[in-house]
Symmetry: C2
Subunit: 156 residues, 2 copies
DNA sequence: ACCAGTGACGCAATAGTATACCACTTCGCC
DNA sequence: GGCGAAGTGGTATACTATTGCGTCACTGGT
């Protein structure tokens, strides 16, 4: 299977649930709800926006509630953090084993906030080669590309 | 001239001063001192660490003092932000015109915190090509590569 | 030398992001 | 049923960053 990145939010939740079952980790109601909220928002969500939404149904939610859920979801590779925006997006293409996850790249529209995720092996390969030239190893890569999406470009 | 990235902190300050003169912007004492402090710290500095150090000589310094100086220095391309660490590093290779600045890449050792900066055109080229395939334009790229530096690798 | 305009700084307050800590509950396993 | 590990509730606090406004200092034009 190659990821096509066309799964709906509902499908992503199903896949996530399935994956957690396989991995023997718990997809609790809070974690599920947080994942649903993030999946429903194409441009990603800030932690406190998430908290606001979660609070409407889950009055006891506090910052640790949402950060704990996000930490869990990131460990499983179901959610990624957008470092340059302090925001979180659902991975459209969750890999079976989070630790085997190669790198990913985010494309972010500065006008509409849309975020798309890519998993391009040639990027990881180039990065590995680059750091190797300096004697480094590569363990993690953050690649965030900001520009205009096709829609915003033609609108301008 | 091709950047060799071997300039000492003092040399970087001289270059920065020269550049500001050319651009007609003011390299004030606060900005200079902040730049010196950042240049002196190979692994980058957090804003509040910077504030602590600045305060010892400049008692009136407050958060806006340091953030304003950092904003200025980033506009000039003299300092970069490490998004994944909320930290700031001096650019070892300041380009004459900040807006002509191609992308840069940061290599970060997770063990010792050392940071090295690269300006590799092939990375920018690959990123441009990638986003173009999705109809995007590329305006800004954040590339942060985390791993082990040669020293820490042999120490382990 | 004067003055107006702009940009830099001082200072206080507050917004926004994230974690530590401890008690209690639930789950999975023996 | 009892045990250990994991998850949650709840408070407090740490850390990161910005807004707003008044004042001062430099710049360029006269």
């Amino acid at each position: 299977m190659h990821c096509d990145h066309t799964a709906s939010a509902e499908q992503l939740v199903d896949i996530a649930e399935q994956r957690c079952r396989e991995l023997g980790v718990r997809f609790t109601p809070i974690r599920r709800r947080v994942f649903e909220l993030v999946s429903d928002t194409p441009g990603g969500l800030k932690a406190y926006e998430l908290l606001d939404r979660l609070s409407t149904e889950h009055a006891s939610a506090r910052p640790p509630t949402v950060y704990r859920a996000l930490d869990f979801l990131m460990e499983q590779g179901l959610v990624h953090r957008i470092e340059s925006q302090n925001a979180f997006v659902a991975c459209p293409c969750p890999e079976p084993r989070p630790d085997h996850h190669g790198g990913f790249q985010l494309m972010i529209c500065r006008a509409c906030g849309r975020v798309e995720e890519m998993h391009r092996l040639e990027v990881t390969a180039l990065m590995s080669q680059l750091v190797a030239e300096h004697g480094y190893t590569l363990e993690r890569q953050t690649v965030e590309l900001v520009g205009l999406c096709p829609d915003c470009r033609s609108a301008a």
